[in-house]
């Protein structure tokens, strides 16, 4: 099957800090792909570059054969995204958030209504569509964001730690929707998470990054075989070591301090 995501020698520098260095991988159309790594490893920076929010310092990206830098609109049409932090308008209702998304993505009014109903049913929010998002629980917001990310029939969905802070029930449901979408609509799923059991359950291919570099890729089985471990969690620790990484600061922190250096502190 053709690759829907191609990444070659991808590098992103903030000042003299290299958040992502020389990373290459590819994702086949219809695959469920997990990008793993400790905090600050460069996962979010990579997703931001794949989704046109950041420009790479070096390297080439192809999303559905388009370049996110030169052809950002085509790329933006091809994917949906659930960000690490919520990105809904809390002062609008669930339905209004979806309608806004539909308008921004140019979903024809005729099909929009049907698609909204279909997706709200999938994420079990049909009866809450006229409620304000600010009254939603964390799990409900996540489900709504997934519905929103799928509204414009994207070929790829990016999920950046979609289950962070959710209870096991919600997490279970969420992965169930994702598997269903992958099976029924053939959508390619690209996700990050720190929960290894989610990876073992859902992902067909895995790439692990650490300190901005790609340290391993393959299937969950091949990674376990490679490291001689029985669980993916152990394979992950074997590949990335067991020291805590917070001291390096996340890429966002780095970006922020670099930004402040360039533009002066705004305090």
């Amino acid at each position: 099957m053709a690759n829907i995501i191609e990444v070659a020698h991808l590098t992103k520098r903030f000042g003299d800090f290299e958040a992502v260095s020389d990373v290459s991988f590819s994702v086949a159309a219809g695959d469920i792909f997990a990008l793993l790594g400790p905090n600050g490893a460069g996962k979010s920076t990579t997703i931001k570059m794949l989704t046109t929010l950041l420009h790479p310092s070096e390297g080439v990206i192809r999303i559905d054969e388009h370049d996110p830098v030169t052809d950002s609109d085509a790329v933006r049409h091809s994917f949906g995204i659930v960000f690490q932090d919520p990105s809904l308008d809390e002062d609008l209702t669930a339905l209004e958030n979806l309608e806004l998304h539909g308008a921004l993505y140019g979903v024809p009014a005729g099909t929009l209504r049907k698609r909204i109903d279909e997706l709200l049913a999938l994420v079990e929010l049909a009866d809450r569509k006229d409620s304000f998002v600010r009254d939603f629980s964390g799990g409900m917001k996540r489900r709504l964001e997934i519905a929103r990310g799928l509204l414009h029939h994207p070929k790829i969905i990016f999920l950046d730690e979609p289950t962070l802070g959710l209870d096991p029930q919600t997490r279970n449901h969420l992965w169930h929707y994702v598997e269903q979408l992958n099976a029924n609509e053939g959508i390619t799923v690209f996700f990050t998470t720190h929960y290894m059991e989610e990876v073992e359950r859902t992902a067909r291919h895995v790439a692990i990054v650490d300190h901005g570099k790609l340290v391993a890729q393959g299937t969950t089985e091949s990674l376990k075989a490679e490291t001689g471990t029985a669980r993916l969690e152990d394979a992950f620790l074997a590949l990335t070591g067991s020291s805590i990484r917070e001291e390096a600061g996340s890429a966002t922190d780095r970006m922020r301090s670099h930004y402040q250096m360039r533009h002066g502190s705004r305090r």
């Binding site: 609109d73 933006r76 609008l92």
Partner: protein
């Protein structure tokens, strides 16, 4: 493109209409100014031979409520950044120009609406405008609102968090208001103050409102409109530029 502009406009208007506390809060201050200054300083103003002070400041207070609402609305970009919604609009396959333009138009509509409400309050407080001037005055309100919405977005696109907000209020919004001739006639002020006021776009907005609502003004209407249109265009351009450069 037009659909995106419309939906972003609609969002601003919906949010405004729904936040009753914001509307009431934004009306309280102008009312206080009208009553305290209009009636409090009125006798002094009259004794100085300048006529009815309430009539004089009503257009100024309308200008005040517009600039506050418009800039505040433009600054909402910072809230959207903090609450994450900004990302949703930044990854959409729509030019950032359309997003920025829709937001600006929405903010301008809301601020002009607020200005119209203040006009009603002023009438209730005893202000008697030239009724033929009301419709053109609302057009002026829209223009003032457009200018300061764009200014708000221009500034907000460069700020990362709310900490700069107080700074903007104290060093931008307040001076723009107080130095504009909203509260005092520019005819007899010291030269230095007049020069400063001439660099303040709100001076021309308030002046145009006075032309239409009370039939008096310092500058010519052509000057007022010329300045408002040119400065609006400049801030729309800058705002669009800075907004499109936002990185998350």
């Amino acid at each position: 493109m037009t659909k995106a502009i419309y939906i972003m406009w609609l969002r601003e208007v919906k949010r405004f209409i729904r936040s009753k506390s914001r509307i009431v809060g934004a009306l309280g201050q102008p009312l206080l100014f009208l009553v305290a200054l209009g009636y409090g300083l009125g006798p002094v103003f009259q004794k100085a031979g300048q006529g009815n002070y309430l009539e004089f400041i009503a257009p100024g207070i309308i200008g005040m409520s517009i600039i506050f609402t418009a800039i505040f609305n433009g600054m909402q970009v910072i809230w959207d950044r903090q609450f994450g919604f900004l990302k949703e609009t930044l990854v959409a396959p729509v030019s950032r120009l359309a997003i920025m333009f829709g937001r600006t138009l929405g903010g301008a509509t809301v601020a002009a609406l607020q200005g119209t409400l203040v006009l009603c309050i002023a009438v209730a407080a005893g202000f008697r405008p030239l009724w033929v001037g009301v419709v053109p005055a609302i057009i002026v309100m829209l223009l003032i609102a457009l200018l300061f919405s764009a200014l708000g977005i221009t500034v907000a696109s460069k700020l990362r968090d709310m900490q700069g907000f107080q700074l903007i209020m104290n060093f931008l919004v307040m001076p723009l208001f107080f130095l504009s001739g909203a509260l005092f006639p520019l005819n007899n002020v010291p030269k230095a103050l007049l020069i400063v006021a001439q660099f303040d776009p709100l001076s021309y907005g308030v002046d145009a409102l006075r032309h239409f609502l009370i039939g008096a003004g310092t500058f010519s209407l052509a000057t007022d409109f010329g300045v408002l249109v040119v400065v609006s265009a400049v801030f729309l351009f800058l705002g669009a530029r800075f907004f499109s450069q936002i990185e998350i």
